[in-house]
Amino acid sequence: MRRSVSVLFCAAVALGGCATAELRGTGDLGVIVERASGAVQVMDTTHRAPLARVTGLGDLSHASVVYSRDARYAYVFGRDGGLSKVDLLRGRLEKRIVQAGNAIGGAISQDGRLIAVSNYEPGGVRVFDAATLEAIADIPATFQNGERRSKVVGLVDAPDERFVFSLYDAGEIWVADFSDRRHPAVRKFPNAGVQPYDGTVTPDGRYYVAGLFGEDGLALLDLWNLNGGVRRVLPHYGRGEQKLPVYKMPHLDNWAMADGVAFVPAVGRNEVLIIDMRDWSEAGRITVAGQPVFVVARPDGRQVWVNFAPPNNDTVQVIDVPSRRITKILQPGKGVLHMEFTPRGEAVWLSVRDEDRVDVYATASLQRVGTLPVEKPSGIFFTARAYRIGQ
């Protein structure tokens, strides 16, 4: 670990000019989580090459990453409550705190000054200064007159210095306004839906959407009109049929929007649901190879890629958006956990956990064009996320 980018580069070119060699952008960099090793690899996505491996980040099962607004620092949220700030250019851990006992992810504020972490234990959201990781605010997710605390999921940033998140046990959505960073104003929306398992915000930052596990449908909150409250989208999409057992929770990592519709995973059904974005009605559904986990759109919206829960987690399907048909079935290997597109979508990187590989596919040819060794890879996060709302 701690191999800095500059050292590698200097060694490679064997020139004296290290000061100039240090100059590089971060716009084509990314981080891949090695979930079982407590490490991340910093990747150059242009050359498809590792730049550094940073270790000592704790339990990174289900870890996720957000980026500082200058895209130099990655904030890594670990399962064990660890919040680690990684310097991509120096390839090293800048600072690490353990802020809770059990955590699930986080977000960075609109102005880049605050990092919020979503906690299971103790249930709630804690907010830190992005520069120093100093504690700024604590929002316990209490319900039932303060007698219980809920696990918090689906934490995202939203415009006007807000964080939005869902309370899994309480079935609520909360909006925390950090305009006054030391005194956040929290607005609560009870009865949002049963067991929200994840949430996301549309790319324009307007709508917060929570997926529901305990009932069919999604909970929708218009952040331009909080007084309108939470409403239900696609209620009864399961048509009262018995759900299939769910061997892995789906995710709503980013809102897969394309061609005026959005694509979301159905829970307990081998389907991707299509939502008409004009009125949030169902616009169709596509039968897929298993229960979808991630449903992600290529940045231009022409393709949607889907991976699956066990036992179908060796398969990836590609949906052609105009025809709404599956045009390619890939079998990269056991344990396909995550997919990340390069900023403009010419390639997608897939983590294949059980084979200790990350594969790179060209999205035009749908052929594998590269592979990298990574120990038990899970989440892949490119720095383009630094500029996206809700990521």
Binding site: R35, A36, D59, S61, H62, R79, D80, G101, N102, I104, Y120, E121, K151, V153, Y168, Q195, Y197, F213, P245, V246, Y247, K248, M249, P310, P311, G335, R353, D354
Partner: protein, 112 residues
């Protein structure tokens, strides 16, 4: 999916769980390895890679204390209606689930 490769006569030192049918052998070493992998990776996606809990509860011995092996085995095989806990019977048979419960109660969740 299900692998029932009973290898007769394996001289394993692993004690057969008290809840396993006495007539049956424990899972083969290779199968034990697969079950542990399932525990860490698939159970782990809700209960945590280190079983300290996630969306699902912790599965460490102190968290399971007071729950009977039969109840735990039934939960694994048949799931818990009203919660996200799914029935794992397509992936594990009775003996395998009993073996897994035994390991969980002992806190032995690494590969044997």
């Amino acid at each position: 999916m299900m692998k029932k490769g009973w290898v007769a006569g394996i001289a394993t030192t692993m004690a057969v769980s008290c809840v396993a049918p006495a007539a049956q052998d424990p899972p083969s070493p290779a199968r034990q390895h697969e079950i542990v992998r399932l525990l860490q990776q698939d159970c782990g996606s809700c209960h945590g890679l280190t079983l300290k809990g996630g969306l699902g509860p912790a599965l460490l011995p102190q968290a399971l204390a007071g729950k009977s092996p039969e109840f735990l085995r039934d939960t694994i095989l048949n799931g818990r209606p009203g919660t996200p806990m799914a029935p794992w019977r397509p992936f594990l048979n009775d003996v395998e689930a009993a073996w897994l419960v035994d390991r969980l109660l002992q806190g032995k969740t690494d590969a044997p």
